[in-house]
Symmetry: none
Subunit: 149 residues, 2 copies
DNA sequence: GACTTTTTTGACTTTGTTTGACTTTTTGAA
DNA sequence: TTCAAAAAGTCAAACAAAGTCAAAAAAGTC
């Protein structure tokens, strides 16, 4: 499919260029052999802010479309995270934290589920509530340390 | 019966293709000589998650239906694993177990490290030795359940 | 044979893609 | 300063799939 092909091309370029590219819509479309608005379509449907991209552009002579792949400053974010943990976390908050890690792409879907599993009340059912919560905090710190690695 | 014929075809393809196929509903229906929704029917009635299949699809130009057969070996192995866990595990044995999961490709390197992290004596330092060990067992069972998913 | 469940079919809906015509913004030359 | 050319943006129509649903038909069950 055309749209996918174009998306792959853009991704590859982003990879090669360290996360920022600038392209001229008409030229690019021409090169591919498609209509210019197809390029717009691909960009608006795939390179969205939700997916971690920033788009900037300018019209007129010498115009361009700039695509930037947002890269989260992992370690910084993680340190921040580490500090936010405190020394006791409820199951619900733990889930939110994990969702967050997933949301920023620091862990995968599966990792999220694994971690929710081991932190669930079910997994920790042997412990009383206070111990559970405090344990989660320690576990979390351990996770962050592993991610910083 | 039509539905069964189609189901057999799909199973055969899955077999030949190592458990993953992608098909275009209209083409496929055409090839068989049936109406497209018949294909949908077969998929929803036979290739269900309960039966160990995962279905993914996309509409629109270049759309497809992807059918994935979950490995049974995996689940079998995991059940075995689950039973082997017992109700108490030392740190060292936990590591061995995790290494095992990694060795058989059931978890990734990173997942292994994350899990070792949360199961380490460090993470569980608040607890006395016996509780730690028993907790690890519960956590492990939770992990296996997540992996079976 | 009456009743229930499963299958078959086709009409209609929703989602995703492609294309082209038209609009807006920007630049540079007369 | 004005205007033409060069971009990119917008939008809607046409097309390409897959999804849904319900009625009719067939197959089972007792």
């Amino acid at each position: 499919m055309l749209a996918d092909t174009i998306a792959r091309m853009i991704e590859k370029m982003l990879d090669e260029r360290g996360g920022v590219i600038e392209l001229q819509r008409n030229d690019f479309a021409n090169q591919i052999g498609c209509v210019p608005s197809q390029v717009s379509y691909v960009i608006t449907s795939r390179f969205t802010p939700q997916n971690g991209y920033i788009i900037e552009s300018r019209r007129g002579g010498g115009g361009y479309i700039r695509i930037i792949k947002k890269e989260i400053h992992r370690d910084e974010y993680l340190m921040h995270f580490y500090c936010a943990i405190g020394d006791s976390i409820e199951e619900k908050d733990a889930y939110t934290f994990i969702q967050n890690l997933f949301g920023t792409g620091l862990i995968t879907d599966r990792e999220a589920r694994l971690l929710m599993g081991v932190m669930s009340n079910t997994a920790l059912q042997k412990l009383d509530n206070a111990t559970r919560a405090s344990l989660r905090a320690t576990m979390f710190k351990q996770i962050v340390l592993t991610l910083i690695h």
